[in-house]
């Protein structure tokens, strides 16, 4: 049985609407045809990025593998008219190790003891809890 699965993440390109937003079209036209961008690159939207990824997964337990990624960048001039469009493909991506260090944060974390005390429940709830979680050994 075919267990491999294909997943389309991020923006879903559809060819007809792409044609409606050529160079020279206005910001509203782009928004109308392509929809809200995945992310924008300027405070007032100097550049729209539409990011799309495709992943496959050979079997249900595997991690989905990134097999395709393309990003459409639409650059606007001062008056909000598309002056240039660029495409980034998967091969443009750089491969490197991300920094593993993280900035420390605070806040109480539950200790095992707390979980037991909290989890046990007292009185009738505790008794019922212990009864309806019964399962045969082995």
């Amino acid at each position: 049985c075919k267990t491999s699965e294909v997943m389309n993440n991020g923006y879903i390109f559809d060819p007809q609407s792409l044609a409606l937003a050529p160079v020279g079209s206005s910001r509203e036209q782009v928004l109308l045809s392509l929809g809200t961008p995945s992310t924008t690159a300027t405070f007032d939207g100097e550049v729209f990025y539409y990011i799309s990824q495709k992943r496959t997964r050979a079997a249900a337990f595997m991690k989905p593998k990134l097999v395709d990624q393309n990003i459409l960048a639409i650059y606007f001039d001062k008056d909000g008219i598309v002056k240039q469009e660029a495409n980034y493909a998967l091969k443009d991506g750089k491969v490197f190790d991300m920094i593993s260090r993280t900035t420390p944060t605070g806040g109480r974390d539950i200790t095992f003891l707390q979980q037991i005390l909290q989890g046990g429940g007292s009185g009738i709830n505790g008794a019922r809890n212990f009864l309806n979680n019964l399962n045969p050994g082995q």
Binding site: S38, I71, I99, T102
Partner: protein, 258 residues
Amino acid sequence: CNTKKDIDITKLGVDTDPPELLYNQGLANIKAGNMAEAGKKFDAINQQQPFSEWARKAMVMSTFVKFRTGRYDDAVQTGNSYLRQYPASEDADYVQYLVGSSYAKQIVDITQDQRAAQQTIEAMSKLVTNYPKSQYVSDAQEKIRFARDQLAGKEMQVGRYYLERKDYLAAISRFRIVVEKYPTTNQIEEALARLVEAYYAMGIVPEAQTAAAVLGHNYPDSRWYSDSFQLLKKGGVEPSENSGSWISRAGKKLLLGT
């Protein structure tokens, strides 16, 4: 199970000691460290003459006792009912501070719901706006800063979750929230550095350069900046600010420090 004996309400007299005596007994108990007993004394005053000046002071102390004994929800409840009855009294700022601190004590690790951090910010902001001259304002601001660090930390945690899975779009949106909504928190450096990583991994080098440049401007000696610098240098690129990009706009805002 336990057969609780019925209480004969006719004998439940009013605590006949004068409120002043009860109040001092309460204070003595606090000094002796016997919080539960102190709490009872203050509640007795409140029962006896609910609107007297002593009752008001007793309510303040009762909130304090509940806070000290870790009964944070009760402290918040008593504190808030005090603030509803005596919004303009001279202890109101202290009670508001106690309410805010009760929430602050319940702030949990960033992998869990940060509702308590949100509530801390709301309560402490009320203190700062309603009682600007109060002595607790500085500590309130410190607690607000810590709570905002927590909220920013949560966005970073989710952002890193997606970055690990190469979900650059989801990661960038999360890091972006930290840069735009929490620029003054301790997470800002890492947020910018993660943006460099995300844009660079997608191959959108100009954005990565700008993010690194803004990070460099604001935190030149930060380890995160040196990491980003190394990363770009390995790829033969320098952090350079293309002023049009949103990050540089955000960066300028950082410089001005809103």
